[in-house]
């Protein structure tokens, strides 16, 4: 409704006036009705701006499910399937299909196979250097996977991981050198030492919040460094301990020694991945996913004992780290002080940050990148650490959660942008946006919405003071074309929230109510105003409907 003069004034003459009218409604000022077919043509003409359609998630799709969905290959003795495959019917073609819903096991398998056949692919000239680097990669990747368990799953920001490994390595080396303990006993003894260490630093882990604990463990790392570097029996004179027993025989040719070291480290890595899977993927990890950061109080109130789960994970990983420490001593025959350096902690942090904190694949990828930069590109000299530091800084500045968090970060950004575009384009009750349209299964509903919107836009132009005055004078009976079109639209509306009149007594006052649209639910009172005559009440309902129309 505007204040301007109506564009097409005319005078409507009641066709029934020839036979006389009861109410004296022979003619009324009205407006000329524009052709509704114009609105249709304009709307369906192909100049509508098309926006890019929403989600595009790509699934690998195989044809034909059905018989094979039940009798599938499983991991004996469990009922667990080989791959997470979902069977469904294609919406468009009605052909049955199979989709792999989770492709990660395939990627893991491929990567591990690549690592296993790695030595066959290394160039002969650098074989030794690459094998040594590979062995280092295996051990550090195993340490970082365990560290990811602590930082990611258990949310305990501990920086003392390398201290645990170093302590276990040093003590087992000492035992091997002094007491002649054989190499196969070193990892289990290391595991015990790791357990002891874990118990020691587990108590503050519960009491302190995240970053307080991080700083405390940083200090502990330093403490252990000073202790070991200044104590004579731990080799302060020689920069470390050497001479422990090893499973790598000194008499083998050097290439064989490197190969054994490489594959042994890989086995350690696979073992740590199994540990990650069994802790993170099973009950403990699930318990802790129910108690995310800042919502722990709620989880505790619901009965989730997250503290115990965290401590359990912490102790289990400390055992694992101790085991790795013992293994380290057994493989390299000893250990140097550099493992307690602040530099090592920084490199370890770089490794798990670059890949993404909280995911095993992140730890492995980050370790690969950093070890490659540090141990393979030796010609770069001091630039290596610079590049590693720059990579760490870059990843932390631009990525929310390392390399493997890119997908989630992008999706979140895209959802935010989509919400903004949508809020700039939605109108109440308007046409469905493309991104909503792909989610609605019944496409008829979309066409109905579009048609409805066209109608309403057209009718909005027809609402003028003349129409309202005409209706006020005579709510029922013959009306001009403009008013008739509006009334027919109102009468066709669906029952939900449709206005109606309620009569208190036989000639009683009328009130406006609205239907609920649901069987058995009584209508609700819309307005307290009472109308004494029916005509007044009809007009009031009409005004309300006009008001609602104009608001959309």
């Amino acid at each position: 409704m505007t204040d301007q003069a109506p564009p097409n004034p005319c005078v409507w003459k009641n066709p029934l006036a020839v036979w006389g009218t009861a109410t004296g409604n022979a003619e009324a000022p009205s407006i000329r009705v524009p052709d509704p077919r114009d609105a249709w043509r304009k709307n369906t003409a192909f100049k509508v701006a098309t926006y890019p359609v929403g989600r595009l998630k790509y699934f690998v799709i195989w044809p034909h499910h059905g018989r094979r969905t039940w009798n599938r290959t499983r991991w004996w003795p469990t009922r667990r399937n080989l791959l997470n495959i979902g069977g469904l019917y294609n919406r468009k073609t009605a052909i049955p299909e199979k989709r792999i819903l989770d492709r990660r096991p395939i990627y893991w398998l491929l990567s591990l196979c690549l690592l296993l056949i790695g030595p066959l692919l290394f160039p002969q000239a650098h074989m030794n250097a690459l094998l040594t680097a590979g062995a280092t990669f295996g051990i550090f990747a195993a340490i970082n996977v365990c560290w990811t368990l602590i930082i990611g799953t258990a949310s305990i920001f501990s920086l003392a991981t390398y201290a645990v490994v170093g302590t276990a390595a040093f003590v087992t080396s000492l035992l091997s050198i002094r007491a002649g303990i054989p190499w196969y006993a070193l990892p289990p003894i290391g595991a015990f030492i790791g357990l002891g260490f874990g118990i020691l630093i587990a108590a503050p882990a519960l009491r302190l919040d995240g970053f307080y604990y991080a700083l405390l463990t940083l200090g502990l790392n330093e403490l252990f460094r000073v202790f070991f570097t200044t104590s004579k029996q731990f080799g302060s004179a020689s920069g470390g301990l050497y001479g422990a027993d090893s499973f790598i025989n000194q008499n083998w040719p050097p290439l064989t020694q490197s190969m054994v070291a490489y594959y042994a480290s890989l086995c350690l890595l696979i073992g740590s991945l199994f540990l990650f899977r069994f802790i993170n993927g099973k009950r403990l990890g699930r318990v802790l996913r129910m108690a995310p950061e800042k919502h722990e109080a709620f989880a505790a109130a619901v009965g989730v004992d997250y503290k115990r789960a965290r401590i359990t994970i912490f102790l289990l990983t400390s055992v694992a780290l101790g085991f790795i420490g013992g293994f380290y001593a057994a493989q390299y025959r000893g250990v140097a002080y550099s493992i307690f350096d602040f530099q090592t902690v920084l490199l370890g942090l770089a490794m798990i940050t670059i890949g993404g904190i909280g995911r095993a694949e992140g730890a492995v990828l980050g370790t690969l990148v950093v070890i490659f930069l540090r141990d393979v590109l030796l010609e770069l000299g001091p630039w290596r650490y610079l590049i590693i530091g720059a990579a760490m800084l870059g990843v932390v500045l631009f990525l929310n959660n390392g390399y493997f968090g890119i997908r989630r970060q992008f999706n979140a950004w895209r959802a935010k942008k989509r919400g903004e575009w949508r809020s700039g384009r939605t109108e109440k009750g308007g046409e469905a946006l493309p991104e909503e349209a792909t989610e609605i299964n019944d496409k008829d509903a979309l066409y109905f919405r579009r048609f409805d919107k066209m109608q309403r836009d057209y009718l909005k132009e027809l609402i003028r003071p003349e129409i309202i005055e005409e209706h006020r004078r005579q709510p029922l009976g013959q009306h001009s074309e403009a008013l008739e079109r509006v009334l027919l639209y109102f009468r066709r509306a669906k029952m939900e929230d449709k206005y109606a009149l309620h009569r208190a007594g036989p000639a009683g006052p009328y009130k406006i109510i609205a239907f609920s649209g649901v069987r058995g639910v009584s209508p609700r009172l819309v307005d307290d105003r009472e109308f004494s005559t029916l005509d007044e009440a009809y007009h009031a309902v009409f005004m309300r409907r006009v008001h609602d129309l104009l608001e959309t």
Partner: protein
């Protein structure tokens, strides 16, 4: 006398590490950033002072001043690289901490490449005079260190209480949302805070190099000690950091006297763990209004 000598040493050490602890506390409580790049700032300031000492070895004020200003510049560099890009992104606290560690790594490598691994030393800033007080010989550098640290601390506290910038910093410590309503820009205040705390670390570097040397990795031990003191005193409270510095200095002194030098770190950490187990937020964590994460 023995104990007095040891106490004097403890106070000296506490003064230097206390400066860093207070810097860490202020940065955390006003910006929500744990700045572990003090290794970088330390070495930066130390090398700048050394370069100045090479030109004008006889002017202690100039050398110290260069160190302080260089520390401030390094702090601002860290702010530009870490705080300003990250402060409104998710997981800001852990990412910020890791970013400062990355700067530490890059910085120490750069210094290693530019200045080489040999340590450098600064000339004595305070001269070589001695004072005898109640049978204790106090050397000039010890008096100088304590006096300078206390002067800087008092200066910083006074400035925070009386100037507009100090008011802004304190306001941001309490309610960053309301701060923007009164025209306090987070990024500009961040620059001020990191410049100020960098300057404090720069002064600590210059003072510390009276006793120790300047090397690419020389900033690590003071960083860890300063951070432990800040932790013990409660991240975010200045008086907590002062109290913790004094207590830890005492612990160091007593351990030195009765158990021997190599157990100092152990006793200090046992003390810190004890304090943290009793009061998880540090000594002043409950008294002061420390910032919640």
């Amino acid at each position: 006398m023995d104990i007095a000598f040891v106490i004097v040493n403890a106070v000296t050490v506490a003064a230097i590490y206390g400066l860093i602890a207070i810097a860490v506390s202020i940065t955390w409580s006003s910006l929500g950033l744990i700045n572990l790049a003090y290794g970088f700032i330390f070495s930066f300031a130390g090398y700048a002072a050394w370069l100045m000492a090479g030109r004008m070895p006889t002017n202690p004020y100039l050398i110290a001043g260069t160190g302080i200003i260089a520390g401030g510049i390094a702090g601002i560099i860290v702010c530009l690289l870490v705080f300003i890009p990250l402060h409104d992104k998710p997981a800001f606290t852990s990412r910020g901490m890791i970013a400062t560690l990355a700067i530490s790594l890059i910085g120490s490598q750069l210094f290693l490449m530019i200045f080489g691994p040999t340590s450098k030393s600064l000339p004595d800033l305070f001269g070589r005079w001695k004072v005898k007080l109640f049978d204790i010989t106090l050397t000039a550098d010890k008096i100088g260190i304590v006096v300078c640290s206390i002067a800087m601390l008092i200066g910083v506290v006074l400035w925070m209480r009386s100037s507009r910038r100090g008011l802004e910093i304190r306001a941001m410590m309490m309610n960053p949302h309301a701060a923007s309503i009164v025209g306090i820009g987070i990024r500009r205040t961040g620059l001020y805070v990191m410049g100020l705390t960098g300057a404090m670390a720069g002064l600590a570097s210059v003072l510390l190099s009276q006793t120790y040397y300047i090397a690419p990795f020389s900033g690590l031990t003071p960083l860890i000690k300063g951070v432990s003191i800040a932790l013990c005193g409660g991240l975010g409270s200045v008086q907590g950091a002062v109290i913790a510095a004094i207590l830890l200095g005492l612990v160091e002194a007593l351990t030195n006297k009765f158990l021997g030098g190599q157990y100092v770190l152990m006793t200090q950490f046992l003390f810190i763990i004890l304090v943290l187990v009793v009061r998880p937020r540090g000594i002043s964590g409950l008294v002061d209004i420390a910032r919640e994460q």
